[in-house]
């Protein structure tokens, strides 16, 4: 059994490609996640917005997928994920936009 993960491709009102992710990302489903992300990126030449605000858990396997496409994605993440993105250094090379969710800590 892999960890439940839902990936929904779409477009933002401004037309930017959007991939909305909800659930948890860990090593059991990071391949599926990587595949979906690559597919979404293939479908557009523009940067892609990855909405992680409904992701409750992201581990280093998920981070690696994000690092591989760091220059083509923008992230939306709940405060719970911010420490991981910060600690890993991803937020230094990728734009991360926080949500209004409850502040972590």
């Amino acid at each position: 059994m892999t960890t439940p993960l839902t990936l929904t491709p779409g477009r933002r009102p401004d037309g930017t490609a959007l991939l909305t992710v909800s659930g948890e990302i860990d090593m059991s489903n990071s391949d599926a996640f990587a595949e979906a992300l690559a597919k979404a990126l293939d479908a557009t030449a523009e940067p892609l917005v990855l909405d992680l605000s409904a992701v409750e858990y992201l581990d280093s396997a998920g981070l690696t997928v994000l690092f591989n496409h760091a220059d083509r994605i923008e992230l939306i993440a709940a405060p719970l994920l911010i420490p991981v993105l910060t600690v890993s250094g991803l937020s230094e090379i990728t734009r991360v936009q926080g949500t209004d969710g409850p502040a972590a800590g």
């Binding site: 948890e24 860990d26 090593m27 581990d59 719970l80 420490p83 600690v87 800590g105």
Partner: protein
């Protein structure tokens, strides 16, 4: 923790103060009674007028749970609190309140008055520990012990106006220790095996040391007629009328109830009336008034009984009664041991007696031989001298007689020497000799024999520096034995005798180049009657006592003999004799050598040795022949051919009287002894009665003719060899052929010349004699033997037997020969083992030159016999073929007797060595297995359910085959000790202390289980049953003690999150009344109990054990603490000593931390919260157990918050002298708070050590800690698909811990990375291995451990930052990360503080 942090109910309520009745409000019960006192009549006046100091003192008194009383004012008016009332005052309450103390304690005022005076006059406190006081609180003066302190009470002005006594009662402890000491001493008998008298004396010594509990004791033992005799007494002077030396059987009017005791009953006897006047009081003021008569129980009827006078100052409680019964048990066990030892001893003495008798017999018989030998030797020597010039053949025969008489004399002398040595009666005369000269002289005697044998003989005996003390006769025997031995076993080469001085010893060596001794035989070389079989030698003769005697004789000289030998190369004997006389008995040493000329004992040795050597044919006369002229009647008859040397017997059978007389006359005159009969029938019966040397028979006779007679003779083995000469009138070749065909030896046709008849008769007799002389001799000899005799041919077929053979085995000569395998061999199918045994013995018989064996055989009628057979190889003189000749005895009875004796002995040994009942049974089973060579032996004890024991691998009853289970169960229906056999084994039923025991042996169907076996099994089973009962008795005594001690230990497995401690008060006495318990309830909640029974010692432990079990059971039934305690109230009312036990009983939900509880007078539990505040659980309180059994108990609820710690304890943890209980409770709360950052088990250790007073706890302490929530512990297969589940479980535990959301996420990520690493790297090659995640919350921190069974890669700098990123994440999220790779896996430990 500061006191200000207490919530409202954190401290015990202040005692109410105020005028009047409020003064006594601190205790409802005692207060009410104090209020009811008419104070106006006391010097203190009405309470309203009391000074503040008195009020304060009274309220301290009443609010204390520690036992206290106080006295105030000029008359020392008495007050006390509830604890004192309960523990000490007894029936004097409430009468005592308000009375002068001297009146209240009138009976002990002499003891305590002076102490109170001291306090009142000096103002200094007193202290007494375990002081003996005779209190009359229960209606009689009672032996009590109290530890108490009197301290002054001062009035408002500071003057001493009263005293306060804080007291704790030690009665149970002091008396319990005293009784334990007696029981321990009784059990400490250092020697295991002693006589009954010694056992009784030892017991009396021990009992006499405790006259406090046993003012006097009498031990009576029963005799066979049922009467009893006084075997021991303590505390009573001899001849006292209460201790008659004997008591009649069954008497009811006697001093003691013999009849009841004989039936195993215990009686209490009132000690009043005549025989009991003037009893000594022991250490007490008054003599005893009661005695307990307890039987000394054993397997069957009691051995006797113990009369134990009772301490009149103690009630005859269960524990007192139990003590006396245990004492009686010890005495009975001692007697049982002594009696069985005595029986063993008797057996040993009988054996020793038998041995002495044997030695005596040898000694006597040897003497008996010597007398006739002397009478043979003396005349023989004379005869030799007289016949100097006589016929060489006469001389030759005399020499034969002489040689053999000498040989017999030598043997008899050697046997005599042995018996003398054994009896220590060897007469020796050790004289100083020149050993070189003596040895050389003795050796020279043998020279001619060695020369004749063609052996080189070298004697190398240079003079020694000093003389050696020897007994000449003995030394001759030593040397001659060694020399004849060398000659006998050396077929070629040389023999060398040498003498040297080595240090302080003379060393004689006799070295030969003979056949040598096989290594296996070396150890037995000097054993008496041991002969090396099959050794090549010059003679097969020998008794096997020569070397044994040599060794004994050298031993008498203080010397040694040793031997070195190489088979086929030779042997060297080395004799070492010390110089000087220090090693010799002074009385046997002669100052100088006596005069003596040459060896005196040489002849027998040399003569015997010479007989081994080949005869020089030139010297030996022709063998004797029967060529002797028989003197006929001179001139009376013609001189016919000469008759036989010895008168031969001839039977003449002829119907013609003239012919008969003629035959008789011519034969008679020629020297034959003649019998004559008139027909064949008469001839046959005469021959059968006494076979003649020759039958001369007419052919033509009435009734039975000559030919038929010959046929009948030849048909009977006994007469088949009798020669027959037939006479017939019928001439012609056919007739003679007919006769010869019938088996006649010769045939003579009438008429015949006398000379021809005589020549034929003579020839026939000679021929038959030549043929049958030896055979007949031997047959007669052999038939006269009592032993069975047989001859086998080289194929092992039995070709000859004697009548004893037929008598023993039932097989007669008619069926000879008996070919192997012989019909008397045990049946190979029914008894393969016995068959095998005989087959082995038989092959030995075929292969070896001689030997002996004891084997089982079957009689012709089928019954089993044991025979002891001895056999020797021989040559058939006719055929030159090898035959085996043997004899045997029926040793059946001996065999079974020995088997029984040794089996009983080995069973007894095993049973006596057993340390427990199960050990005894196991040992006995192995004895049975060994005895019957069983495949295995099973024993099923049918108690509540069958319990199996057995040899071999352990097996449970359920594992047995259904068939075997049924067979064992069916044994139960059989009578006791009656063996049952089936196709594969045998079984028996016997009594085991825990129920009937069915025992079954798997014999694998290899051997039949004979009647003898059954008898033996039944005998052993009976013995075993007794042994088991004895072991059980010992077990029980030990178990009583151990069970009580074990009962104090808590549950074997604690639920997670708990820690417990128990600390006994004083290290040697690990028995107390405190306990803790946890019990997991069916709904997952956990029952928690901490309790404290009154008192200490065995009694308290027993009560505690019962309450603990009861409480557990009640909680499992109904998870309500209040209802559990109410049920326990009712239970406690029925258990002596259980009333007033305090108990805290709670039920905890480990998920929510919710705790419902109820307390029966127990100190409050403490909840140490993470905030630093400690709360007391002091709702739900009510009275101690059993005080008001029907009152409803309250129940309260509280929640143990996340990361808070619950502490439950007994008062020993917090109660200290001269300090309020609340202070101790506060200190305990603080101690728990200080352990915020340690695991709960470590915290338990810290609390115990922080609160311990200097010198250790004075009371026993039970402690229970729980920190909420219990640690997280999860193992999962190392697969990534498990990660989400693990996160889910961990998340809900973190929820229970109430961690901040941020901390929770940090922990989830860090643990997730550690788990991912474990899966990714640790288990890449072994998926499915387990990963274990553990987490424990402390107050301010969380500790995490992730362990796997693989090894990790260190992060590769510059490589793909895969798992390196994981480790970086862990380090960023946690305060501390330690990764420990090990050979069996990698462990990640992480630690993070909890943000407030």
């Amino acid at each position: 923790m500061a006191p200000s942090e207490h919530s409202g109910d954190a401290v015990p309520p202040e005692p109410p103060s105020g005028p009047g009745a409020d003064l006594f409000a601190a205790d409802a019960a005692v207060g009410a009674d104090l209020a009811a006192v008419d104070w106006g009549t006391t010097p203190l006046g009405s309470p309203g007028s009391w000074p503040q100091s008195l009020r304060t003192a009274v309220s301290i008194l009443l609010s204390s749970r520690f036992s206290m009383w106080m006295a105030w004012g000029p008359q020392l008016t008495f007050f006390c609190n509830a604890a004192y009332r309960r523990d000490t005052l007894g029936r004097k309450y409430p009468w005592a309140l308000g009375r002068p103390a001297s009146e209240v304690w009138a009976e002990i005022w002499d003891d305590i008055g002076p102490r109170i005076d001291t306090v009142m006059t000096t103002g200094e406190a007193t202290w007494d520990e375990a002081l003996l006081l005779f209190l009359e609180r229960s209606g009689y003066p009672e032996e009590t012990y109290h530890t108490f302190s009197y301290s002054p009470l001062r009035d408002d002005a500071g003057a001493v106006v009263g005293m306060l006594c804080v007291v704790s009662e030690d009665t149970d402890r002091v008396i319990g220790e005293r009784r334990m000491a007696t029981l321990r001493d009784l059990g400490s008998d250092p020697s295991a095996a002693r006589s009954e008298e010694e056992v009784l004396a030892f017991t009396a010594r021990q009992l006499g040391r405790n006259t406090a509990d046993l003012p006097f004791t009498l031990t009576y033992l029963f005799q066979a007629d049922g009467s009893a005799w006084l075997a021991g007494a303590t505390g009573l002077p001899a001849g006292h009328p209460a201790a008659p030396a004997s008591l009649a059987a069954g008497g009811t009017g006697g001093v003691w109830p013999v009849e009841t005791a004989a039936r195993g009953g215990t009686t209490t006897v009132e000690l009043d009336g005549t025989p009991f006047t003037g009893l000594p009081p022991g250490p007490w003021p008054q003599p005893p008034v009661q005695a307990l008569v307890v039987p000394l129980l054993q397997q069957e009827a009691p051995y006797g009984f113990l009369v134990a006078a009772l301490n009149r100052y103690r009630p005859l409680s269960e524990s007192y009664r139990g003590f006396v019964e245990l004492v009686a048990g010890h005495v009975a066990a001692g007697i049982a041991g002594a009696r069985s030892y005595q029986a063993q001893q008797r057996r040993a003495e009988e054996l020793a007696e038998l041995d002495r008798a044997k030695t005596m017999f040898f000694s006597n018989i040897s003497h008996e031989f010597r007398t006739p030998l002397t009478l043979i030797m003396g005349p023989l020597e004379e005869l030799r001298i007289r016949l100097e010039g006589a016929d060489p053949r006469v001389r030759e025969e005399i020499d034969v007689v002489r040689r053999n008489a000498l040989r017999l004399g030598k043997l008899v002398n050697a046997l005599l020497d042995f018996s003398r040595i054994e009896a220590g009666r060897m007469q020796a005369r050790y004289e100083p000799v020149d050993l070189a000269a003596v040895t050389a002289e003795l050796a020279s005697v043998f020279r001619s024999a060695f020369d004749k044998a063609g052996l080189a003989f070298e004697v190398d005996c240079p003079p020694l520096p000093e003389p050696v003390h020897i007994d000449r006769d003995m030394w001759e025997k030593v040397l001659f034995n060694l020399l004849s031995n060398a000659l006998k076993f050396t077929l070629d080469g040389s023999v060398r005798v040498a003498l040297r001085a080595e240090g302080d010893q003379a060393v004689v060596t006799v070295r030969d180049t003979g056949v040598g001794v096989p290594a296996a035989e070396m150890p037995r070389l000097f054993e008496r009657f041991h002969r090396i079989e099959n050794a090549r030698s010059r003679s097969n003769e020998g008794s096997g006592i020569g070397l044994a005697l040599v060794k004994e004789l050298i031993g008498l000289h203080g010397g040694t003999i040793s031997v070195e030998s190489t088979e086929g190369r030779g042997t060297c004997f080395t004799v070492r004799l010390p110089f000087g006389v220090a090693h010799l008995p002074a009385g046997a040493v002669a100052p100088t050598a006596g005069s003596r000329t040459g060896p005196v004992l040489a002849d027998p040795y040399v003569q015997e040795a010479l007989r081994w050597l080949p005869e020089d044919t030139a010297d030996v006369p022709e063998p004797a022949t029967v060529e002797e002229p028989v003197p006929g009647a001179p001139g009376a008859a013609p001189r016919y051919a000469p008759g036989p040397a010895a008168p031969a017997r001839v039977l003449v059978a002829d119907d013609n009287t003239d012919m008969r007389e003629y035959l008789a006359r011519i034969l008679g005159t020629t020297g034959y002894r003649v019998d004559a009969v008139s027909d064949g029938e008469a001839a046959l019966s005469a021959i059968r009665k006494n076979p003649p040397d020759l039958v001369v028979s007419d052919v033509m006779m009435p009734r039975l003719d000559g030919l038929a007679l010959v046929g009948a003779l030849r048909a009977d083995p006994r007469t088949a060899a009798v020669p027959v000469l037939l006479l017939s009138a019928r001439a012609g070749q056919e007739a003679s052929i007919e006769g010869l065909q019938a088996g006649a030896d010769d045939y003579l046709v009438k008429p015949f010349a006398a000379a021809e008849l005589l020549a034929r008769v003579r020839a026939s007799i000679e021929l038959a004699r030549l043929r049958g002389h030896h055979a007949r001799w031997r047959a007669a000899l052999v038939d006269s033997l009592h032993e069975g005799f047989f001859v086998c041919d080289e194929d092992g077929a039995v070709v000859e037997i004697n009548s004893a053979f037929t008598e023993i085995l039932g097989f007669g000569p008619e069926d000879l020969p008996y070919r192997a395998a012989h019909p008397w061999w045990p049946d190979a199918a029914k008894d393969p083992e016995a068959h095998q045994q005989v087959a082995e013995a038989f092959s030995q018989l075929l292969d070896r030159r001689q030997g002996s064996c004891t084997v089982p055989v079957a009689h012709r009628d089928g019954h089993r016999l044991w025979i002891n057979a001895t056999f020797n190889e021989a040559r058939d003189p006719d055929s030159g073929r090898r035959v085996i000749v043997g004899t045997f005895r029926d040793v059946t009875a001996e065999h079974y007797a020995i088997q029984r004796e040794s089996a009983l002995a080995s069973l007894s040994t095993r049973l006596s060595r057993a340390t427990s009942l199960s050990d005894a049974l196991w040992g006995a089973l192995s004895v049975l297995q060994e005895l019957w060579r069983a495949r295995r032996v099973l024993a099923a004890v049918f108690g509540d359910q069958p319990v199996l024991a057995g040899t071999g691998a352990p097996q449970a009853w359920q594992d047995l085959s259904a068939e075997r289970r049924r067979a064992l169960s069916e044994l139960r229906g059989r009578p006791l000790l009656a063996p049952v056999t089936d196709s594969v084994g045998a079984g028996i039923l016997l009594e085991h202390p825990e129920g009937p025991l069915a025992l079954w042996m798997d014999l694998g169907g290899k051997r039949p289980f004979s009647a003898e076996d059954q008898l033996l099994l039944s005998l052993l089973a009976g013995h075993l049953a007794q042994g088991l009962a004895r072991a059980h008795q010992i077990d029980q005594q030990r178990e009583t003690a151990i069970a009580l001690q074990r009962a104090i230990l808590g549950p074997a497995r604690l639920p997670a999150g708990f820690a417990v401690r128990y600390e006994p008060a004083t290290p040697p006495l690990e028995v107390g009344g405190d306990w803790y318990d946890t019990v997991t309830l069916p709904d997952g909640r956990i029952g928690i109990v901490v309790g404290d029974c009154v008192g200490r010692g065995l009694t308290a432990a027993t009560v505690m054990g019962q309450l603990r079990s009861a409480c557990r059971a009640l909680l499992l039934q109904d998870a309500s603490p209040a209802r559990t305690l109410m049920a326990l109230d009712r239970f406690a009312a029925g258990v002596p000593g259980a009333v007033c036990t305090t108990v805290f009983c709670g039920v905890l939900d480990p998920d929510s931390g919710r705790l419902t509880y109820s307390s029966a007078g127990h100190p409050p539990g403490i909840v140490a919260e993470p905030s630093g505040i400690s709360r007391l659980l002091e709702e739900g309180r009510s009275l101690p157990l059993g005080v008001r059994p029907d009152r409803k108990r309250p129940e309260a609820a509280s929640t143990v918050p996340a990361r808070a710690t619950l502490l439950l304890y007994t008062d020993g943890l917090v109660e200290r002298r001269r300090r309020p209980l609340s202070a101790g409770i506060r200190e305990a709360g603080a101690a728990v708070q200080r352990g915020r950052d340690v695991a709960v088990d470590e915290l338990a250790t810290q609390v115990m050590s922080r609160l311990a007073p200097q010198g250790g706890y004075e009371d026993d302490v039970a402690l229970l800690l729980y920190r909420h929530p219990a640690p997280f512990d999860l193992s999962f297969p190392a697969e990534s698909s498990q990660l989400a589940l693990v996160r889910g479980a961990l998340r809900s535990w973190l929820d229970q811990c109430r961690l901040p959301r941020r901390t929770m996420q940090d922990v989830l990520v860090a643990v997730g990375e550690a788990c991912a690493n474990a899966i990714e790297h640790g288990h890449r090659h072994a998926p499915g291995d387990m990963v274990r995640v553990r987490a424990e919350a402390f107050v301010d921190a969380v500790h995490l451990v992730v362990a796997d069974t693989g090894d990790w890669k260190a992060p590769q700098p510059g490589g793909p930052p895969l798992r390196g990123r994981g480790i970086a994440l862990m380090q960023a999220m946690m305060q501390q990360v330690t990764i420990t790779p090990g050979p069996s896996g990698t462990t990640v430990e992480m630690h993070t503080r909890i943000a407030r």
